[in-house]
Symmetry: C2
Subunit: 515 residues, 2 copies
């Protein structure tokens, strides 16, 4: 077999079942190899930001890597922004990036670029295969690297001649190392501190936000009275009725600092101490309260569930959490379509086990608390701040979990970045309801303009934050890409449209005009 | 004034009139500074690939840089693919990339990334400002770097605190060095060689493809009988009736090698010797004929017009070129809509001084020869092979040349990459007619799949090259972004639609279904 066939066989043997792809000439042998591999599902995205964002959504839900197939340096470059988000989410992804044949590089053909240089900033692991027969071995290493707890971005660069040359063999799966465990000594120190009488918080992120880990956190809360606080932008938070609830740290730095200011001690599990998302003139970047004990117990790369289980044991905590979230849906007040009415409709209608991809930006901040008591669901957020994640992430989550409803809560400005994701949803008949919250602007930036000290922005500045000239017709764009769509301008119409979209299986788009 | 104001004042003093932008929080001070600068036009793109592609189109036509305003590492990453094309086109661009405040970087906030690492692969020049008062000086240097003949990609990284801190002053314009001139010795050697009796070609690229340089090339052809051949993917070729015509080197390597095989000598001006675009198993990358004299007279970074003028003098060439292109429009044959009918309509209807942005891929190869005798025009091609250039390039060209009609000849697959460019065309009422040549596939890849040796691709491989499930409705997408559109399925309907679009001023889209 040729190098491409050996690589794809290896990826399949290592458990990679899905390849999100936008290939070019230099990847044609890899396309042919995927074609011959019955266990590999190939999904086309019409832009690489869709490909990498979908791989992120898949990885967050499947807890194993999808492969991506990308075309040389520029194709990889188009996927970098969503790889940035995936890297911040600690998602497992294996990128396969074709490059020119090794002998061809010397000629500096038009598509030649520094592919390693493009890969490095948004990858945890980068490797070029050395020979045709090394390509499969490098693939096995890439999967192993991608599975380093809780996940990594592994980028393998495959020269075209390594793919097309015969005489290669598949490589054996390499077992990733177990997740690093926190020392007993640190567990016991944290337990001792938590037993002291003073306001305490468990600050949770990463894998500490899965249902089983939250159960343990709830036991710790029952034993110590510690409050459970979640990082502002979790990769995947399991929440809703019947789950252990967490409070979410506010977005703006000064609100976050105020939120934490009365804690005498904060124990971090699966998260680093929080910092301001952006810097602002005269405002501090560091958020935790001065003088508080900050215990960095488990980093995002240490086993969060194990850590919380052992901390609960060390505290001799009760078997049950202090509380589980009660079912709760806030009432719909009036017919004005605004974030609150969207939140009320979601809270009432979201089905059990829904997956929410939240890139609703300013509007999303209101939707989160309102769905606190909705049926149990997973909430995925914009981990790296690089907009254009939401629709691709929803598509990838739907591929990973074909039996669960995915709901994309999507700001209009961000949705335009990777709007091509709608086409993939239609092509694969993915069970995604996309809600485009259309406020006709990059609303967050109107706030930020003031916050950085621009007191009286003029018309040219404001025009750079405005999306109303021309108005974007989301129904037309969605249907142009094959996803049935409806525009809603009242709370009642939105709720009806949401109920209808959730009742069917397959992609739908609802434009919610809140401007 | 603060650093941002000093920088924007400096850019304006250095002749930068347009800023294509997609800013975020870390660029809000720069947005405010642009707001206060009456000589700076700010144009919003809804994705950074639109921003950088438009800057490329502007720079190719204006022969001076536009600025871009990009949001941190991920925003720059989204713009890299079109910067790759611009770098290959030797276009002048000044990228201004915001970064976190310098003190904030240590906290590794979610949007932190290695911005220099992201910038390097697709930039010719990269610099971070050292202090708030250095920001303007760095801006002047960036403009100078961008103007190094014939143009460069200059990327300036602006930490947010450098932008917001007061006490800065504008920096003086720095004059770029003159274009390097070819030595007399080399001119005379080339002239001596060209005087010998044997088949000769002048192989032209870059600035050698402007009207004045082509006049000189035509004089050389008249003196020596040398054929004039143009690189396959010129950044900007001035052609059409009344101009000195050039032959275009074929795309596929073996066809290109065959095209050149009978030349005993080839003189390169503004171009390097051609190589195959991609490598293929068993096929050579190097295209020029073995045994021929290859004279690399002027690289793309040496003054092409001066070189050709002096070479014509050294040859004592006649004052007039051997020939100027006669006006010619091939007849429309039948009503079937195919590339030939699109070419015939273009050849007849393109107005004087039109600008063509050609990303028509497989179909474009037919459109080029058919428009050889159309009214004089500029033809801009996909210099770096990174698809998604065409619509943004057209938008930028229209900003640079508001009194000229721009025609974007656009393959469907490539158009989807940066489809958001349509919105900017509508917003700025740009005089662009976009022709989407819809063949429902990445057609070039069906050819390439065979060429790399995949004899019998299966359904999964073919599905990765297919765009018909679902069919993309270009009229819906275009109108959803504010650009009036029409779908055509016959040669007559296409010609009528083209005539109508060319008769008005403002953006239009014509979908030409050739599948």
């Amino acid at each position: 077999m040729n190098g491409a066939e050996a690589l794809i066989q290896t990826l399949s043997d290592c458990g990679v079942e899905v390849c999100f792809a936008n290939p070019g000439t230099s990847e044609m042998q890899l396309v042919a190899a995927i074609d011959g591999q019955p266990k590999m599902h190939a999904i086309l995205g019409l832009f690489e930001g869709v490909v990498t964002g979908a791989a992120d959504g898949y990885g967050r839900m499947a807890e194993k890597p999808a492969a991506t197939l990308l075309h040389l340096g520029p194709g990889l470059a188009n996927g970098l922004a969503n790889l940035h988000n995936a890297k911040r989410a600690h998602t497992s992804i294996v990128n396969i990036v074709g490059d020119h044949a090794t002998d061809h590089l010397q000629y500096d053909a038009p598509l030649t670029s520094d592919v390693i240089g493009v890969a490095n900033p948004m990858s945890d692991w980068v490797r070029v295969s050395d020979t045709p027969s090394d390509l499969a071995a490098a693939g096995a290493e890439a999967v192993e690297a991608s599975l380093a707890y809780p996940g990594q971005i592994a980028t393998l660069i495959a020269p075209a001649d390594h793919a097309w040359t015969d005489g290669a063999e598949p490589s054996a799966r390499k077992e990733p190392a177990d997740a690093p465990r926190v020392d007993d000594k640190h567990i016991n120190e944290a337990a001792a501190l938590l037993k002291k009488e003073s306001p305490a918080a468990l600050f949770l992120g990463g894998r500490a936000l899965r249902e089983d880990a939250l159960e343990q956190a709830g036991r710790i809360a029952a034993a110590t009275g510690a409050r459970l606080i979640c990082e502002t932008f979790p990769a995947r938070l399991q929440r809703g009725a019947g789950r252990v609830a967490v409070e979410r740290l506010p977005y703006f730095g000064e609100m976050a600092a105020d939120y934490l200011k009365d804690f005498a001690k904060i124990v971090f599990v699966g998260a680093e101490p929080p910092v301001s998302f952006f810097a602002y003139p005269g405002k501090p970047s560091w958020i935790p309260p001065e003088g508080a004990d900050l215990i960095k117990l488990a980093s995002p790369r240490e086993d969060a569930s194990d850590c919380l289980t052992r901390l609960a044991q060390a505290l001799d905590a009760p078997a049950e959490p202090a509380a589980h979230q009660e079912p709760f849906a806030p009432p719909l007040a009036g017919d004005n379509l605004e974030p609150a009415s969207i939140g009320a409709a979601l809270a009432e209608l979201m089905p059990e086990n829904a997956i929410v991809s939240d890139e609703a930006a300013t509007a999303g901040l209101a939707l989160f608390p309102m769905t606190q008591g909705a049926r149990a669901h997973d909430w995925l957020t914009l981990t790296g701040g690089s907009i254009g994640q939401g629709l691709p992430l929803a598509a990838g989550a739907a591929v990973a979990c074909p039996d669960r409803k995915v709901i994309a809560l999507q700001a209009d400005g961000s949705a335009m970045y990777t709007v091509q994701a709608l086409w993939t949803m239609a092509r694969e008949n993915l069970d995604v309801t996309s809600v485009i919250i259309n406020n006709g602007s990059y609303a967050i930036l109107n706030i930020e303009l003031q916050r950085v000290g621009v007191a009286e922005p003029g018309p040219k500045a404001l025009s750079l934050l405005d999306l109303t000239n021309p108005v974007i017709d989301w129904v037309a764009i969605s249907e142009g890409m094959g996803v049935p769509a409806v525009k809603t301008e009242s709370a009642g119409a939105f709720k009806d449209a949401l109920a209808e979209a959730l009742s069917i299986k397959g992609p739908r788009l609802i434009e919610a005009v809140i401007a």
